[in-house]
Symmetry: C2
Subunit: 432 residues, 2 copies
Amino acid sequence: MKIINTKDADFKAQFEQILARAKTDIKEVSSIVTSIIDDIVENKNQAIKEHIAKFDKWDVKSDEQLQIDPADMKKAYDKLDHKLRSALHMAYDRIKSYHEKQLPKSWVDFEKNGTILGQKVTPVDRAGLYIPGGKAAYPSSLLMNAIPAIVAGVEEIVVCTPTPNNEVNELLLAACHLCGITKAFKVGGASAVAAMAYGTETIPKVDVITGPGNIFVATAKKLVFGEVHIDMIAGPSEIGILSDGSANPHYLAIDLLSQAEHDEMASSIMITTCDEIANYTSKEVENYLETLSRREIAKKSIDERGAIIIAQNMDEAIDLMNEIAPEHLEVMTHNPFELLPKIKHAGAIFLGQNTPEPIGDYIAGPNHTLPTGSTAKFYSPLNVENFLKKSSIINFSKEAIDELGEACALLADTEGLTAHAESVRVRLRNEH
Amino acid sequence: MKIINTKDADFKAQFEQILARAKTDIKEVSSIVTSIIDDIVENKNQAIKEHIAKFDKWDVKSDEQLQIDPADMKKAYDKLDHKLRSALHMAYDRIKSYHEKQLPKSWVDFEKNGTILGQKVTPVDRAGLYIPGGKAAYPSSLLMNAIPAIVAGVEEIVVCTPTPNNEVNELLLAACHLCGITKAFKVGGASAVAAMAYGTETIPKVDVITGPGNIFVATAKKLVFGEVHIDMIAGPSEIGILSDGSANPHYLAIDLLSQAEHDEMASSIMITTCDEIANYTSKEVENYLETLSRREIAKKSIDERGAIIIAQNMDEAIDLMNEIAPEHLEVMTHNPFELLPKIKHAGAIFLGQNTPEPIGDYIAGPNHTLPTGSTAKFYSPLNVENFLKKSSIINFSKEAIDELGEACALLADTEGLTAHAESVRVRLRNEH
């Protein structure tokens, strides 16, 4: 695995390449995705059926066939191996418990003059979850998207997932049953996003669409943003590791590879203050690579997008990592907590040697749907707030408007809005 | 003003028209805006200067001239009339106090086995505020956009505003001084949004862009979403009023007009359970119209997009209003608080006869940047969270990974991710 040093003459150029890791030009697919969306808006179920025939290679014979039978979910759940079922339940419980702690409360605040100001928190009516299917079916993604919506109190949750050859992943079905999903549809890609954004005869229009997907799904989410809300636009997975001399290179190597095996486009970047750790980890990565079932993918990712950076001190390392703003950040140092105040940008932060990133993918509790490609500078992990929205609450008493009204009317005057000013002054004139 | 009844044979069609009030086809302007963005990305300041010459009709002679001199802000503030200055301060203080109540805290939670889970809250590094200028210069918009960013702790706040003929609104300058803005630039429209999203030689690249604007600004915000975060995509202003027989029709009429005067495209909709109130308010609107400085605009808005709906009871009225999901909702009923649990979708809710909507535009405290066109079903008012983001915190002890690791590895196995599973199991095997 490539090692670079911040003292290298070409370091800046090398680092720019790391920062540009996620630049994908969605313009290339925009026109294809736009025509898919237009087709769904115009032809609804009929368009979906054609897209399924084309991409997923099976014939949908009726509208009913678009929907997954909840009885099949229960069957899959009942058939689960005991250990796997209890692992799934453990994940469900821990994810639920974490997200419950995120739930904001409506609040009100009172002033002496009788003013009441506040904020009402309300779940959205309908949420649409996009869950990848086929070869890369990740039941964990269903838990991670459904549970925040359940905790938020969303009444109707809709799931869309592609089913190549009309086959649905059994563990995904079981996870649907565990989450109480009843409205799951066999449609994927941009078609699924469009169907949930605009509605069809069978698939309800939702208010928020969340969930991971390829560039077509990501582009569709961007294009329907405004018609519905979306969580974020995400790209290939990433890990950043900060390590000092105390880190165990075996751990570092396998953790770097755990992201690399996701995708050839995935990025695994370690920044360390220790030359020895850099060299040892680089070699360990090569050794481990041979043992992986997805070694071809992981090797390509490590070779083309992986790097170990040697920094001159931990402050420099953290500054660089804040620039990278990785999806996952492991802090593999002697006292990881003391670095937290300086860490500004990362989707999820894994502290210490007993906290490998995969623990957060499945079972720790926090969400695994995280901002990628430096967007952790402004996006948050998927959370209950993605399924809620707020309304301001304002109540003025007569005393309050008498006290504040004239200042308000004056500001309205200066903006030339006479009806605004009058709507306040009519109350000031009236005694009641 | 038009009165319709939910019992009318064509009510459904009439109501559909109200629901479709904000449908604007951004496709029409998308290609123009895309080329503006591409031009800014490629030619930076040079493109900005050309756009200013074309749209704002003045020649920018140097890069420095793009920036508003903070000394001019202070001068404008010092020149303010005493009453206006104190109104501006009152607004500033109340808006700040309200938004401080929204500020979320970072948190951690501890488990017996040594697990620490939490959420770190961090402000974005740079925020970009788009503030309309020229004829529709609203200094209140600067307060409403800058204060949440200040409360969030954003280190660098950038403002862009168009300055036709190189003239800046004096009250806007004064408001900039009050908010401590030092980086304000004389550029508007899609060019400003693109400049803040991608950066130029003079205008810094930001992480989040907020603020109101016309369809070009809204479209530009949508197109740069993903490169930066944005608050929402907003359209023309709206008011919805729920009223029973207790409401004062004078108040209702002027409140309806206070939105109508904003924009010919604005919508003012009242739903009432009382025929008399409907008739009286409709006449009052016509009377008041004649007195307004912006009567042409208000009349067109009321005639083409205004409506009073007579509902058969308050539950029906609320259901319809939740469908409309208005930007501003006035609840002008005998006991407005008791309706709050049923009100699901509205940007801001104004309770009772002493709380006219304009009080929320300027001085109450909650934000006046609100979701329009039914997007209150999924967007929140602008708030401090728009300028913050979260990172999950995960810390496992050896005891915790020993307890939960195998379940995690099992789930990784089922998804075919062997490096994920191994990254957990290597820790389970090791004693340390």
